[in-house]
Amino acid sequence: MFHFGGASCNNCDIEILDCLTPRYDIERFGMQLVGSIRHADVLLVNGSINLKDKNRLLEIYKQAPKPIIVVAIGACGCTGGIFAEGNTFAGPVDKIIPVDAYIPGCPPKPEAIIAGLVKLLEK
């Protein structure tokens, strides 16, 4: 999985990172975070996307090996959250790239993230 953080407060980033830690340990489900989009099957996006991030996100999506599953995480990823009315808002994510799954929450607990990802992978 490759993670892309937009203009966020980092709560979601930390909860995603938390999934790696011993209590949640997603590696037992066969999920791993990779450093490059080219090695990824799943793209995790969180954060409200501002105009500057939009280009980066599009580039990352272009570089991603298809088919790629896109997951929007957190209230910001799903709808822009509390930042949607800001003057630099350019999202939400599904306006920029196609999204396959949404995991809402502010931030979603690691259990919610894992549950969402497991559901997705079962499909």
Binding site: C9, N11, D13, P22, R23, S36, N50, R56
Partner: protein
């Protein structure tokens, strides 16, 4: 060979938001350029369209790690404008939440610093011991992050007396684990080798850059908002400000680790004294905010958070200025990185504990003369980890 080295995002998950460009000649960093704007969300402007009560939810999400500090400073600011004093129980609750946050934030930092040095076990331990703190937050406030505890005049939820024994249990557990982590970090000769004398900021540097927080305290600049401009329960309990003199990465780590003990003590004392206050008295009702201007500050885990609000008697702020501590601390990178080797750059940057959201992520290194990209963030972390393993051998 001259090269520019990008400092990659130190967050193992993140990639390529170009923030820092380190221009290198051989192994030494000669110049640093940065580009920000990736995280800009227009919060100050958004604040003008929210009622004062709604602003709390907005400012909480400026930063996930210092999630309490912004509402804290904002509440202090608004209470100054409204001219109200909050009940003692609310003061204790506010301080407890603030200190719990400091603990979890410093643990997070220890984990990340460990990761950059190549000590992934430290990373796993530190984040594992963060979990009980987050559990406490969930028990008290309902959420692991973004607690929505503050309102003008007090707090929204009480810490019920019957929950206090569980909090105490967690504190005892945490003290033992802090001993463990402190011992592991402070006594390890390789960590000494990687962090002593690295990323040094002198007293003069701190004053010129107006840096704050543990970054400043590690260079002998004795400032702490909790003591200098007291608020909440800090003047009501006994604790001390931790400082160090050397100003290097090791000193910054030491200050943060020792601060955790102080935080545990503050929470302990606050829980004790809170028992004497009547349960449920957690708010001074504020009906109106008069016209005026106010300033409020709080000591976040990274330093002083400052809020300024101008009001006009209506329910909305006219102007809301927010200054996070990382805004001034990150500018010190110019001092800590230039003249250092590339492999030390990652840990020097991490030592200031930049809040991603307060400042965004890091960038890539370029060749000083050809402009070609040399290393990305992940490679920089790997370089740093490699240096550690060479030292260990």
């Amino acid at each position: 060979m001259n090269k520019i080295i990008p400092i990659g995002p130190y967050h193992p998950l993140q990639e390529e938001p170009e923030l820092f460009k380190l221009y290198c000649e051989g192994e030494i960093v000669k110049d640093i350029k940065w580009e920000t704007g990736y995280n800009h969300r227009g919060i100050e402007k958004l604040s003008e369209s929210k009622t004062f009560d709604q602003v709390f939810f907005l400012v909480e999400r400026i930063c996930g790690i210092c999630s309490t500090s912004h509402p804290f400073a904002f509440a202090n600011c608004m209470e100054e404008i409204a001219g109200v004093e909050i009940p003692d129980r609310a003061k204790y609750i506010r301080s407890i939440i603030g200190e719990l946050e400091r603990i979890h934030s410093h643990l997070l930092w220890v984990g990340l610093a460990g990761h950059f040095l190549g000590y992934n076990t430290v990373f796993m331990w530190a984040w594992k011991y963060r979990e009980p703190v987050l559990d406490m937050f969930e028990m008290i406030t309902g959420n692991r992050n973004s607690y929505a505890m503050f309102k003008i005049g007090g707090v929204r939820r009480d810490i019920e007396n019957h929950n206090i024994p569980r909090i105490r249990e967690m504190l005892d557990f945490l003290k033992k684990k802090t001993d463990l982590l402190t011992g592991a970090v402070m006594d390890d000769p390789v960590i000494h080798a990687r962090t002593k004398g690295v990323g040094v900021l002198t007293r003069e540097d701190i004053i010129t850059y107006a840096a704050v927080g543990p970054t400043a305290r590690a260079s002998g600049v004795d400032i702490d908002v909790r003591r200098d401009d007291p608020y909440a329960a800090y003047p009501l309990v006994n604790w001390k400000v931790i400082t160090a003199q050397e100003g290097d990465v090791f000193a910054k780590a030491k200050v943060r680790l020792l601060e955790m003990y102080e935080s545990i003590s503050i929470i302990d004392q606050s829980l004790d004294r809170m028992k004497k206050e009547k349960e449920g008295e957690i708010e001074t009702v504020v009906k109106e905010i008069p016209e005026g201007m106010g300033t409020g500050r709080a000591e976040a885990p990274r330093g002083e958070v400052f809020h300024f609000v101008k009001t006009d008697g209506s329910n909305y702020p006219v102007r809301h200025k927010i200054r996070a501590p990382s805004y001034v601390n990150i500018a010190t990178f110019r001092k800590t990185c230039v003249g250092q080797t590339i492999s030390d750059a990652t840990i020097s940057l991490a030592a200031v504990d930049p809040c991603y959201c307060c400042t965004e992520r890091m960038a890539v290194a370029y060749d000083m003369h050809t402009g070609k990209k040399i290393m990305n963030g992940k490679e920089l972390i790997e370089l740093s980890a490699r240096k550690t393993s060479e030292l260990k051998a």
